[in-house]
Structures are given as C-alpha cells and as structure tokens.
Symmetry: C2
C-alpha cells in the first residue's frame, strides 16, 4: 500500500518486526505450554482440552468490523481490525483479535498477502499467507477425499444408486484456477471410473470450510459432515456423506484443522487466525471455535467479516451469530476517502486528486451500510482508514456528513502508527457499546427460502426484489419437500456492488437480484443462493502476483505484500 | 499385522508408546532448540542454518534396506529398517533412521498406515500417516499452482505459443482417485480457459516430489524447478517452468517442505522422515537433504528404498546415490517366509500351512535380488522378518539355502521384540560392511537412453530385452536432439514382479519389458520410462481403509493400522 506515507512495504515492516515467542504471548492469556501445540516458535494451536476447560468462564465483549463495498482502492478492513485490537490492548484491556486465514489463491493471484498492513499486521506474515498451520490443505484433502470415495462408490457397483448426472459435491483446490471450473472426470475407459461432469471450487468456498467454521466441537463437526448432501440418486433423493459412511475418515482428516491458531500482531496483541470462507461465495466469517475461545480468553474480542456489510456482516449476524448464540456488542464500519470517491465515480488513476463532489456521491454507499447495521439493531462507529492523499477539505466533508446524521466517526491511522492511530476509534467504540443493543437477525428462520432472500435483498442490499430462475424456483419446491425450508440462506454475490452487477458501485436503486441456482449445504446448515455471474472458483489475472514471488537461499520470502 | 503374536495392533502399540519430547531426542544428536522448528511436541523440522553448519562434519556410515518383490503377505521392510536402527542404537552406536513420509492416498486406500509395525514403529504414527508437517500438501499446492499458472498463460494470450495438445505437466492430488486419471479441463466457454486433455497424478509421482527429494538446498531446488518441462510449443520445442517465470513462486511454496522432519521410534531412536516418492512410479527414496543431514548427525544411518531391489534399490543406487555422491556401506535385503511362499505359488489364505516346497520355489525371487545387489558391488545381509506362523522346518530350509550359497542371513524379530529382535541383524551387517565395497552404478550415464533401459532390464530384472512402443522410439530420438540423452532413467513398473506383468511372481524368465512412453523429468534430472500397464494414479479398492477410520471427541485417531 504505497499510498501510505511510511515508505516501507508491508513485508519489510513485517520482516523487521521483533516477535515474541508465542508461548509468552499465550501466557498473558493464562495459556500454559501444555495448552498449546507449537508450529514453530511463533504459531500454535490451542488444545481441545484447554478449550473444554474454558467453557465455564465468562465471555468478553465482541466487536465486529465490517466495511463499505470494496473497491480497487483498498479499504483496509483487516488493517483496522488489527489496529483496533492493538489500541484496545494499549488502553489496558485484555484483547484478542479473531481473523480469518488467507487463501493461497488470491495471495498468488491479486493480493500477494492478507494479514493487515503497515504497523497493523499479524505475524509471521509469510507463514500466515502461505501454508500457515496447514488447515486449508487439510480441508482441500478432505474435500477431495469425499470426491474420490464418492466416485469410487459409483465405480464399484453404486449400491446407493447415485445418479452420476446429479453429483453436486465438487472437488477443490486452494488456488485461482479457472480451467478447473468445468471439467469432465472419469474418462479413459472402464478401468478409470464413470465419466461425469464435475468442477472445482476454491477451497474457501467448499462446504467443509463452512462446516469447520460453524462446528462447536469435533463431534459436531462429524455430525455436520455426515449431513452434507453430495448427490442425488436415480429417484432424485439426496445422498449424504453419512450415506457413504465416511464422515469418520473425513473428520479424522480435520482433527487438527479444527483447533484455533494463535499468533500475534506486530505489537504482540494475541490474534486467533482460524478458518477462512470468502464472504462473496461463502459465509465469510472466521470459525465459531476461534471466536468463542477468544471470548473466553479476553475482555474484548475484535473480529471481522469479509467484504462489505451486505455480505460478511449480514452472514455473520444472520448465520454465524444465530447458529452459535453470539451477540456483537458493537460494530465498526470501515471506509476510506479513496474508496468512497471511487463509489462516487472517480477512476483509480485519479484518486490522488481532491474531489469532494465525488466523495459526497460515494457517501451513499456508506449510508446504506450504516442503515443495514441500524436495521440489525446494533450500535456502531464509522472508521475512516486515513491515507496520505486524503485532503483536509475531503476530511471536513466526511466529518460534516457524519455529524449531520449523528453518526459516530473516527479517523484512524493504524497503518502508519499502529495502536496509537486507533485509540480514538477504540474509545468511541467502547462508548458506542454502552448504548442500547437491539440485535436481532434480519429475517426469522420460519420464513420460506424465497422470503428470506427477498428480505435480505430489500433490507440489506436496498433492492426492489428477486428474480428466480426456473431452476431456482424448482429447487425451492424440492427443498421444501426435503424439509430444508427452515435453514438460513447464504447469498453468493459480487462484493463490488450492493446489487448483483459488479459495475453498479455507489448506491444503486431500482434493481432486482437474479438467483440462478440454489446449493443446499446441509452440513453447514444453510442454503446458498448463487446470484448474477458470481463464480465459486476465481481466475488469475494477466500478471499474477506469483510472478513477483521468490525465496532467497535462507528461506526468506520475497514478493508478498 | 495380526499374524505376529503380541495380540496388539500397531495403532494400539503406537498410542501406548511413551514419547520423549522431540527436543530431548534432538539433544542426543547435538541439535539445540534453535536448530529446530517444532510442529507440536513430537515433530520438528531442522533449520537451514543448522544444515549449513553441519556441512564440514564427517559423514557416518550408510545402510540401505531393500527387499524381495512385495506380495499381499507383507514383507515389513519399514519395520526391519526401524528395528535395525533401534538395534544399532542399543549396541551403543549413534544412529539415525532416514525414511520416506507416507502418502495419504494408500493410507486411505489399502494400507491404513505406513510407519513400521509392532515394536518397530516411528511415532507419532497418527500424525505421520495423516498430514505430518504438511510437506505433501505443500507439494500438491505447488504442483497445481504450476498448472494454474500454465493454463492462465495459455488463456491470457499464450505468449509462449504453448500447444494445449502437448501439455505434459499434470495436476496432482495426494489421494487414490482413478476418476482423475484422464480429465478434460477448461470447459464452459471462453471465460473458463482453453479446453484441453489433462490428468492428475498422485502427489508422490509428481516431478516436484522427485525434485524436493534430490535437491541439495533451496537454490538447487529453485534451479531444478526452473528446468521442469511442462509442455511443448507449436514448434514442438520444450517449454519449462523457467519459461513461465514462476520458479521463484513455486520454490517459495516449498521453502518449509524442503527442511527434513525429525521424529523418533518407539525406542526413542531419532528418525528423519522426509520426502516420499513411490518406487514403482517414481524414484522411491527419501530426500537427499534428509540422508545427508542424517549422515552428519550420526555414526550409522539406516535408510530404505521402496518396494523390491528391482525398483527402489536400483533407483537409490543409479539415481540418488550417483546424483548426491552417496555410497552405501551395506545393504539389507528383507524377506519373509510367508512372502517367499507366495512367490512359490501359495495363495494368501494358505500361508499358515507349512510348505517347504513352495518356499524353495519362492527363494528364486530372493536369489535374483541378491544377484542384483552383488552386481552393484555392495556387501549385504538377508533379513528374514519372522512371523509366528513360520515353522522350524521352513526356517531350516531357508537357513540351509543361504549357507549353501554363503549368503549371510539373520532372523529378525523386531516386530515383536523391538531392538532386541534386531541385534543379530545389526551385528551381521556391521560385519558385512567391513568387506570389500565395489559400489558402482549398473550403467554409465554416457550410454543412450535405450542402452540404459536395456541394461536395467537384463541385469536387474533378469529379462531378455525391451520392446519400445512407436511413441517411445520417437521420443528417444526427440530427447537425443534436445540433449537429454545423458540423463539416468527411472523405470515405472509394477512392484509385484521382476517383469512388467504383476502376475508373474517368483523369478520369471524369458520376458521382455514393454516401454510404452517416456516422460522427461528435467528438474528431477531423469527420464521416466512407463512400462506395462503401470499407472501414476492408483485407485481405491471396493472397501477403502477410509471406511474404518474415525476420530473420537478428543481427536484420537481410530482405524489407522
């Protein structure tokens, strides 16, 4: 993020950070050596024994960080989350940050890294951005083991009468690989399985990722895995992992991945980084195990949900919080003046030029997300992640806009200053959290799938309604018959717009959302609605970030940023 | 292995073993805490700094364990390797065992586990058999990242003019999944890449696995990766990973996987378990980094090569030893009376019945492998891994057979007794190692590819010659033109027979080997010759081992054995 003014890149700052041994970071949370499984000196998993022992403890307070719709300008939601955690610790509060793990796909594609930025980073950033503690690899292996066992079942006699045309379980890789979206497997003759159409999702979109992130413990994980619908039989009845009889083997492959990972920020604030579904194509929150463990260990927990409040926060509040019985005590909505200007129509190349008119126009996007958080009944603060290019006039416009609407706002400078740049935000959030909290999900579970989707579209996206494809309409009938109508919905939608058209930035009006297909995720416990052209497997750009990546002879990473 | 007599399963013995913290095991090798990166309490990687610092130290002696052709009766080569290491330590020698890591595919397919057996096991067996330190997952991710970047290159303009019909780089999963042997990728229209035929190999057959196992250090790894041929362009010229410009990113993904893993046996003998190419479809040896590090740390290093001496040992001696400048000081050839009886024509169900005639017939298989090790100029001992069902008459036949031929032989009982059951073998091997050692590879590098394959077939397999397919003949011409004729060959062949027909057990005569295709592995530095029907992606059986696998609520594995 060179538009900040320190002159150092994120990886330079991260590589120069002096880390504490993770056992020392853990000690501040009353975690002893036996409560941890080390992965090198600076990473550890927390044992099941310790997590069980914590169950009787009182919970701390939970803060959720969300944002406006992302733009190519960058919003820095992770950066603000980390900086806010550091600031709460600096104020003397026992604090734990709870984040998602980065996916290798975007790291090698566009982003290069996803561990915050500047002086608000979690470390060791190289490890976290690459294989970390192997959780995603375990998920990929487990996902593909289900596929292998399923195809083997069909090949070896197909006792369950699975219709190879109706296999809904896809394979997975933790990479951006468009060539794997639509494939045909089982070619090459009778010795090589039964030919059928298949596809690969990115691992973060796999139902197993959602299952891992929503499971309360290893038994719950196994029960959820058993419920996963992998195919339909020739009578069009669902076939599950439990029917295949392999939920035990799959749970075994995930026995370590389910344990939360402890790392630290550059300022040594404990951070639990665990689970990582994307918020556009999945439910977008870190794991329930991590969040609940963090709440037992700290007085304040700061967590984030992916992309804008229309995606991650909605899913955090309607799916994760409801499933796990969580209630946020306050919300932070992150924006940048640069991104708001883009929402107001400015091109990326012209962001450095002062443009208060565009900022005014772009503020409509922020306004919608504020309305959403209000609709959920939650107290909040708007955090402006300050960039060097922000002008005094622009900052004044923003502040006026907020004060006219009684919206609490804080200028944060955590990228440049670490915790010192987030003290004001922390104080305002602690203040906001004292206000009345009327949290409730946006729709009741008793509504039909159709009603749930419509409610989200109207109340969260600000759209006029929903157009269902013929397929989706038929599926809703089927799902009702299967008894799945009570499940929450997880909408897969572009992150760039409140609508399902990524080009409609700002605050689009008079739009409908197009639901082309539903995907039942019985293990996760929700129904995914695929809208617009959203893809569950990203592609690589013309110049992937991988082209810049390298490693020196001592194993030091180059080109992560 | 219930035919042994303790009445306990391997996993029961392993789960009841009392492990030492790995730092204590390391301390006996003069490895300090800073020389290690811990993965939990009982696994660690050795740092590059330490490996570099060791370079000036003197090497210990190297023992190679190989076997007869495997049968469904089980030979216990890993068990003998581990028991021999334990016995050498018991005799007061500073000993390190150097093994390969198990692949998840066979663990979930047939084997259930691959960490020795009985009282000769490496532990923690659950971890080693599942994800271990993530090396194979890193390889899978790196392998598939090359594919994604290659397909993206083709999709984004194809500057290198890669012919999509001539992509030789395959994707990989560390699973047995026959449905992925032949696939078509890039389907679904212009936004989803360029359609082409593709296939998946099991990760242990990936060239990256061979590269990891043959690399001397991280720089060598990167240079080898750059040389990997991934495709041919429209002019039929090879295109490499270096041409794609991504060797840095791929090496970065493997920066930790290249570090050797330290664990222990049940008797606390240090074991370096690292790398794991299969010996039938790949070169079948653990990593050069691991073997060389072990030689610096110990007076005696015991390592094994996969399957029979026709596969693993041949490749160890002709590829790994030659590339890395290693010279074994002695060889152990493992056999069991049960397996020899199977080579003599007995069915598995009748193995418990005494049958000295079948044993006599089966000894011809052992004899060929003895001749092979003699042809390599190496001193050796035959180790009979004793089973409870072996009768005194059978043992007498075997002993007579050996003494008539002056073949040193030892009855080992390491499965049942641990180190105590291997003392005799250790002493005989130490004695053998004092004999004249005339080690030389079986063929000179200057021979043509054709000559090399013919030499292996005649001298190692005992065949009469080689039949090359039209394709293989054309490829040999091409490879000569590309300047690849000087490389060693790595023959992919069934492990069950000296021939390329798995049904021909014992010692087949008058057979030719059929080479259907050659695969250049420029990064690994050898040419693979695919013979018979051998497949680089195994399938699952009707009742995969996965059906028995489970995990309890505390994370304890069930069904690994």
């Amino acid at each position: 993020m060179p538009s900040h003014s320190t002159g150092k890149t994120d990886i330079e700052i991260a590589q120069h950070a002096v880390l504490k041994p993770i056992k020392d970071v853990a000690k501040n949370l009353q975690l002893e050596e036996d409560d941890l499984e080390y992965y090198g000196k600076y990473k550890a998993k927390i044992t099941y024994d310790k997590i069980n022992a914590l169950k009787t403890k009182k919970d701390g307070k939970l803060f959720l960080v969300t944002s406006i719709n992302p733009t190519p300008a960058g919003e820095g939601k992770s950066t603000v989350t980390i900086g806010l955690g550091d600031a709460l610790k600096r104020l003397g509060h026992k604090t734990v940050i709870a984040l998602r793990e980065p996916s290798l796909g975007p790291v090698m594609g566009l982003k290069g890294g996803a561990t915050g930025g500047g002086y608000a980073q979690v470390v060791p950033m190289e490890d976290i951005n690459l294989h970390f503690t192997g959780d995603f690899h375990a998920l990929t292996a487990a996902n593909n083991a289900i596929s292998a066992l399923l195809d083997n079942h069909i090949h070896q006699g197909n006792f369950l009468q699975i219709d190879p045309r109706r296999v809904v379980w896809k394979r997975a890789v933790d990479l951006n690989d468009r060539a794997l979206r639509h494939v045909v497997v089982g070619l090459g003759g009778p010795g090589n399985g039964v030919p059928r159409e298949d596809g690969f999702d990115i691992t973060v979109a796999s139902e197993l990722m959602a299952v891992l992130c929503l499971a309360e413990d290893l038994n719950d994980l196994k029960q959820r895995i058993a419920k996963i619908v992998v195919a339909y039989n020739y009578e069009k009845k669902p076939v599950t992992v439990g029917d295949l009889g392999v939920e035990g083997a799959i749970a075994l492959l995930l026995k370590d991945a389910l344990k939360p990972n402890l790392v630290q920020t550059i300022e040594h604030t404990p951070a639990i980084v665990h689970g990582g579904p994307f918020a556009n194509i999945a439910h977008g929150c870190n794991s329930v195990m991590a969040t609940k463990t963090a709440l037992k260990l700290a007085d304040y927990v700061v967590t984030e949900a992916g992309f804008g409040a229309d995606l991650g926060a909605e899913k955090f509040l309607d799916i994760k919080a409801r499933t796990a019985g969580l209630k946020p005590d306050g919300v932070v909505i992150v924006a940048t003046i640069r991104a708001l200007k883009m929402h107001g129509g400015v091109r990326k190349e012209e962001l450095a030029v002062e443009n208060t008119a565009a900022l005014q126009a772009g503020l409509l996007n922020l306004q919608k997300h504020v309305e959403t958080i209000v609709a959920f009944g939650l107290p909040f603060v708007v955090a402006i992640n300050r960039f060097a290019s922000d002008t005094e006039a622009e900052i004044a416009v923003l502040k006026n806009w907020c004060s006219e609407r009684d919206i609490p706002v804080s200028l944060t400078e955590v990228w440049e200053k670490g915790s010192a740049g987030g003290i004001d935000l922390a104080n305002k959030l602690l203040e906001a959290a004292k206000q009345r909290n009327n949290f409730r999900p946006i729709y009741p579970l008793e509504s039909t799938i159709e009603e749930k989707i419509e409610t989200i579209v109207r109340k969260v996206y600000g759209g006029t309604g929903v157009e269902f494809s013929t397929k989706a309409l038929r599926q809703m009938e089927d799902f009702k018959r299967f008894g799945w109508g009570h499940l929450p919905v997880c909408i897969a939608k572009t992150q760039y717009s409140l609508s399902d058209d990524p080009k409609k930035t700002g605050r689009p009006v008079d739009f409908a959302i197009h639901v082309r297909e539903l995907v039942p995720k019985l293990g996760a416990g929700f129904i995914v609605a695929l809208t617009g052209d959203v893809l569950t497997m990203p592609g690589l750009p013309i110049e992937p970030a991988a082209y810049q990546m390298d490693v020196d002879e001592n194993g030091r990473a180059i080109g992560l940023f």
